[in-house]
């Protein structure tokens, strides 16, 4: 029964991933990324992580991808790549190393695999994650707030026009 959901989701995720990497236009990459994110949200549901799945759709798909699209539109035509590749042997070398990496990773993953036990009552619900966040992870949770603040300040400073520069 689960296979019926998993196989399309996995296939979509893989296809989206390939799309991200090979698309000529950044916009197409962004769309492909969106596909991956939604497909992964589906697999999260299969893994009893309803809350995470919801976050995935809201934050990733809703906020981050939109931010990407904004920037792509801001930079419009020149958001792509320059005409002349400077490292001609990089793709081949990268493919070889990546293949080796995948092989090693699959061996490691096979080693780590174990059958799923039945999930406990209420596993992955917002209530449980919230309880964990405000009990054992209180300090990291507060730090996360600070990191967000720092990110905002950084973005504001970086985005500011240098002094004296004319509005274009």
């Amino acid at each position: 029964m689960e296979w019926v959901v998993f196989i399309p989701a996995a296939a979509l995720a893989l296809a989206g991933g390939v799309g991200v990497v090979v698309a000529r236009q950044p916009v197409h990459s962004a769309i492909a990324l969106l596909v991956v994110l939604v497909a992964l949200a589906v697999t999260y549901l299969l893994l009893a992580a309803q809350f995470i799945a919801a976050l995935q759709v809201i934050i990733y798909a809703g906020a981050i991808v939109v931010l990407f699209l904004f920037v792509i539109m801001l930079l419009h035509a020149r958001s792509g790549e320059g005409p002349v590749p400077k490292l001609p042997r990089q793709p081949v070398a990268a493919a070889i190393v990546a293949a080796l990496y995948l092989a090693v990773l699959l061996v490691a993953v096979l080693d780590a695999s174990a059958p799923f036990p039945p999930p406990p009552e209420g596993f992955g619900e917002a209530r449980q994650i919230g309880a964990a966040l405000f009990a054992g992870f209180l300090l990291p949770f507060q730090l996360a707030a600070i990191i967000l603040l720092v990110g905002i300040v950084t973005a504001v400073i970086l985005g500011r026009r240098p002094e004296g520069e004319e509005e274009r």
Binding site: L47, A95, P120, G151
Partner: protein, 100 residues
């Protein structure tokens, strides 16, 4: 019942795809999206392990990854815009001031 290996293999494949993207593409934006891909594959692994070990901490970590990712995207995109302003390009090979 889908075995855990299927999820983990999917995660590994996505991670490798993302790495390929980082290594091969020259557009800073696409490299960035490839990084997002890698982060998501790791999230998938975390969620899988949380289910496998019946421990909610795996999902909590995913929550934190989400937070960090959000910040990283904001800062990273700001940097890209800044670089674009000074160089009229987002090709990472144009940015080689570290050349020895």
């Amino acid at each position: 019942m889908v075995p855990s290996f299927a999820y983990l293999a999917l995660s590994a494949a996505l991670f490798t795809l993302g790495a390929m993207g980082v290594l091969v593409r020259r557009s800073a934006l696409i490299i960035f999206m490839s990084v997002e891909l890698m982060l998501n594959s790791v999230n998938l692994a975390f969620v899988t392990f949380a289910r496998m070990h019946q421990s909610i901490e795996g999902q909590v970590v995913v929550f934190f990854v989400l937070v960090v990712t959000a910040v990283e995207v904001v800062v990273g995109l700001a940097l890209i815009v800044d670089i674009f302003r000074s160089r009229e390009s987002v090709d990472v090979d144009d940015v080689d001031l570290l050349r020895g």
